[in-house]
């Protein structure tokens, strides 16, 4: 089995290096094909590992070589395939295979075609390291690696100022969180003496509560950055500057869920500190509704989907924080399928509309893009959580978890968010595909995407439909070998049915309302004159609660100004000036006293006399002081010296 582990891990690396060979040459179709095949190989290996684990329950654990060893520290390149990591491997390799194939079509006319595949495969490799490592340092390699690839891919079109700005923002904001993660790792090392998961988790049981709390908090800060939790969330929406396949793979299905994976992986830690867990759950619920509200009014389809991702990550953290780790992981998986599908559909729309992203400028695209319409609609149904699609099984479960654990505030917030989710998802569906044709007047001539792109997307469609009712039980039985097997059942049947049906009706109403509002013929391209756009809440939401504005004005600019002050005022005018000042004292002393030795006899005689007088006076003073030393001491002591 180790062979398959190495194939799953290194096939993406080979793919990346292979594509990197052609980065400076013009577009070559086979680069994309070979890369896709190699990623598919990784998927097949992951699937073999999955069947192995399902069949035997045996965990595959290998140690490749030593990475760092000094003092008592020992960090190997160790990899483990257990029930949790194999789930992640399946999600990552499956979605990335599809995204690779899709990208062959999507990046068809791009001059950076080969480079794109190199970056994309490098991302898959980093993500594999992240989920397969058996220690925190290895996790950190993957953690930073995906950050690097995210930076490269957001800024892929580096001629665009907005893209490179967003890339740097994402990297730096993640770095802030990574610092928290690093501190968490240091805490683990100095308290347990190891960074291996098994050793560290075993040692946690003997640590005091305060230390564990700090470890939990710092590791979670790391998770907050990658998973874009408030207040480090602004980068995710800006990251939509990258090509759409990137958004689908990195900023929806895989990388942003790394934070959830970290919490699930460290469940033995978080189980010991339920108060931190409750904080995670509360923050998750807050982010869920916070992001959903921003999605309500946004006029950029990719940003709407990005906010929706953010909101769903909130759901996952709510579940993980409440101790329902397997539920969080299950929603992660289901979400990866339908959200990647939604993004890829969005990519088709963007292509058709020459990169126009405002859904108000579209309308009635369903006529020309039937396949995309069906896929995106079904993905949105799955996202909204309608029976029997994937979202119903995973999202309703999270609501049940909150309800069963008597966290009714979290439950209410998440329930409201479910309604908002349904509304904003179908708002863009209605605006893009239905209603009046608004795009022809603006000079757009949309066309459906390549057939093979739609075919490539179809596995995601199937999974978005069936993942819930077919995979839930086998999945549950598998991961609960490792994760706590808490089942969440509402004891009273009446309550259960009221809740389930109530939620479904609520969501359906939200969908209906969205269709009604945005399919009517009166929808126009907003021009800033309508009553709604002058509304305070609309302004608040469209400006993302003014948080990016706040960051820009009060943090970025302040940092820049302070840097300039440090350089211009402190470094040059204080530190360096005092160094030069000291040097100048010597220089000027020499320069000014030089005149004494002018060689003029009368001047020199004058100085000689002055010197003699000074010496004599000193001699007299010292002589007197020596004679009257007793008296001087008495006088000084009476003065209190």
């Amino acid at each position: 089995m180790e062979k398959y582990l190495y194939i799953a891990l290194f096939a993406p690396l080979v793919s990346s290096l292979f594509a990197a060979l052609f980065t400076t040459t013009p577009k070559k179709q086979f680069v994309g094909i070979v890369a896709s095949l190699l990623i598919f190989t990784a998927f097949v290996s992951s699937a073999i590992l999955l069947t192995h684990i399902l069949g035997t329950g045996e965990i595959v654990h290998v140690e490749l070589m030593t990475w760092m060893a000094t003092g008592n520290l020992y960090i190997p390149f160790g990899f483990v395939v257990d029930q949790v990591s194999v789930t992640m491997m399946m999600v990552v390799s499956l979605v990335s295979t599809i995204v690779h194939i899709y990208s062959i079509g999507y990046m068809d006319h791009d001059s950076g075609f080969n480079r794109f595949f190199s970056y994309l495969s490098a991302f898959v490799f980093s993500m594999m390291i992240l989920v397969m490592s058996d220690n925190f340092a290895g996790l950190f390699i993957g953690w930073e690696g995906v950050g690097l690839c995210s930076w490269l891919l957001i800024g892929f079109w580096f001629h665009k100022e907005s893209a490179t700005w967003a890339a740097n923002e994402a990297f730096i904001m993640n770095r802030i969180a990574d610092l928290g993660m690093l501190i968490g790792i240091f805490l683990v090392y100095w308290n347990t003496g190891t960074l291996q998961y098994d050793g560290a988790f075993a040692a946690f049981a003997n640590l005091d509560h305060a230390t564990l709390t700090w470890i939990g908090i710092f590791l979670f800060i790391g998770a907050m950055g990658k998973s874009a939790q408030f207040p480090l969330h602004t980068w995710l929406a800006d990251a939509m500057e990258g090509p759409t396949p990137v958004s689908a793979l990195i900023h929806a299905a895989t990388m942003v869920t790394a934070g959830v994976y970290l919490v699930v992986r460290s469940h033995e830690l978080y189980a010991l500190i339920p108060n931190v867990g409750l904080f995670i759950a509360s923050l998750g619920a807050f982010v869920a509704i916070f992001a959903a509200t921003m999605a309500l009014v946004n006029r950029d389809i990719k940003r709407v989907i990005a906010y929706s991702t953010l909101s769903q990550l909130g759901y996952m953290f709510a579940a993980a924080g409440l101790g329902a780790y397997w539920v969080a992981l299950f929603h992660l998986m289901a979400h990866a399928f339908f959200k990647a599908l939604l993004f890829l559909g969005g990519g088709n729309v963007m292509h058709a509309m020459n990169n126009e992203l405002d859904p108000f400028k579209m309308g009635a695209l369903g006529k020309t893009m039937k396949g995309t319409m069906i896929m995106m609609t079904l993905a949105s149904v799955a996202l909204a959580g309608i029976f029997p699609l994937a979202g119903f099984f995973s999202k309703d479960l999270i609501l049940e978890v909150a309800f069963v654990d008597h966290h009714f505030i979290i439950y209410t917030v998440l329930l409201l968010t479910a309604g908002l989710t349904a509304f904003y998802s179908f708002r863009i569906i209605a605006l893009i595909f239905h209603g009046e044709d608004r795009h022809t007047a603006l000079g757009f001539h949309p066309h459906e995407a390549y057939k093979f792109m739609l075919v490539a997307m179809s596995p995601l469609l199937i999974l978005a439909i069936i993942a819930g009712f077919t995979m839930k039980m086998p999945y549950f039985e598998m991961v609960t070998e490792l994760l706590p097997a808490t089942e969440y059942h509402i004891h009273s049947h009446t309550t259960y049915w009221i809740m389930t049906i109530g939620t479904q009706v609520f969501v359906l109403l939200a969908i209906f309302f969205a269709y009604k509002k945005y399919m009517c013929s009166s929808v126009k391209v907003p021009d800033g004159t309508s009553k709604m756009e002058k509304n305070f809440f609309y302004k608040l939401l469209i400006n993302q609660y003014y948080i990016p504005y706040f960051y820009e004005e009060y943090i970025v600019k302040a940092y820049k100004a302070l840097s300039v002050v440090f350089w211009e005022q402190i470094d040059k005018k204080i530190i360096d000036a005092s160094v030069d000042g000291i040097a100048n004292i010597f220089y000027n002393t020499g320069k000014n006293t030089r005149h004494m030795q002018s060689g003029n006899l009368s001047t020199m005689l004058k100085w000689m006399v002055a010197g003699t007088v000074a010496l004599l006076s000193l001699a007299v003073v010292f002589g007197l002081a020596a004679r009257y030393s007793g008296e001087i001491t008495i006088i000084l002591s009476s003065l209190g010296v």
């Binding site: 610092l179 690093l182 501190i183 090392y189």
Partner: protein, 516 residues
Amino acid sequence: MLDHILSILIFFPAFAGVMGFMINKESMRAYGTAVAVIEFALSLWLWFAFDNNVSGMQFMEHIALVPSFGINYILGVDGISLFIIIMASFFTMIGIASLSPTHSIKNMIITLLFLQMTMIGVFAALDAIVFYVFWELSLVPMLYLIGAWGGPNRIYASVKFFLYTFTGSLVMLVGMLFMAYFFYQATGVWSFAILDWYRLILPESFQLWLFAAFFVGFAIKVPMFPFHTWLPYAHGQAPTIGSVILAAVLLKMGTYAFIRFSLPLFPDASVFFMYPIAILAIIMIIYTAMVAYAQKDIKQVVAYSSVSHMGVIILGTFALNVEGISGSIFLMIAHGVVSGALFLLVGVIYDRRHTKLMSEFGGLAHVMPRYATIFGLMLMASVGMPLTINFVGEFLSLLGFYQQSHILTLLAGIAIVVGAIYMLTAFKKIFYGEVTNEENRNLPDVNKRELLALIPLSIITIWLGIYPAPVLGPINNSVESVVQLMHNKATSHEAKMRIPNVTGVVITKTTTKEAH
């Protein structure tokens, strides 16, 4: 020959430099490259012959110079100095091989060969006076390099560099003389041998003063905040090769000397001054990173980033445990490789455009993709991306210091954020966007001569990032013995607590008499 390999390593380049006066100007580059290659091969042989399992000094040489005062020519290497010596010969080699055409290239190569002698001398010397001689001699070739081949403000920069570091070294010399005098008082014999000094246990009050005297010399060399202002001028005016050697090797003299002198000689004082120095290091890290962000000139960004990274090295050194000190030594190598490469990269565009202002560039990724790729790699190494060389050192340094203080490590960790800010911003300004300046439209990509230097550096950056063991292993062994020595010598209770007892390493102490 192996018995005298250190002497050969030191004096071969100097001898070859003298011979160089007789070489024809046209064949000088080939001659210089050949000498540097031989020297580098010798240093590799040194590594090959080096016994990784020995923690103490190897290849020791001993020639009496002034026996009545205990001044001897003593050389030796251990895991701490070995790799810095190899790095010094490596950088001289690729520096000479990739030298861009300049005036009086013959003199420059001779200067570089002399510089190499002084660098290797500093790291191989085990006698304080010999160390001091090489330490001061290294200023002279550098003074020439900046003064003769530098930019418009080169005289000011080179004089400032010389006087500033020279002043600091004089204070250090006074400290050395006192140290030898105390040794004489305690034992009745004069000795300037560092290994003899290691055996002397000084009372804490003496240690504090001597530590301070040595500190002045080392801190200016490193350079530590607030003694760093000579560095931006020196880098700003120096030719590319001067900056490369300055950043890669000369700065390491200061941090190396902390580990060779300050820590084992004054363990109690090291613990006493740990917090103040850590605070200075944190100021270095954050403050200079912010200053770097404010720069308009790309070379100044790299220069200030050097200071910022040296802060992490100092912090790791004063972690006073094996993890931290090993990390800081590894980071010395790593910073040498990465900042050396960055200065070479800056030199590449300077050669083409004769400007280093970032506002003159933009969109270079379109015209010079290979250059952008290598710069990107070094950028990522500089910000401490895992699996690059810098990460290992930075991670271990911070990890080590975490044992001493949580909150200070948290503050120092800001390095990974502020480092990313100035580097990414600089990268964006130079490489991203459209080509706006017509002069940049047809810049040639990196040529073979430049790749000759950049490709080996790129390989090392990744190789030692993935597999640091060949370097980290010997470093670890020697550091363990240093830490054990410090633990054994520490007199105050706090120092005993702060400096861990490394089990398994036995250091025999022959002299425990206290100096009074």
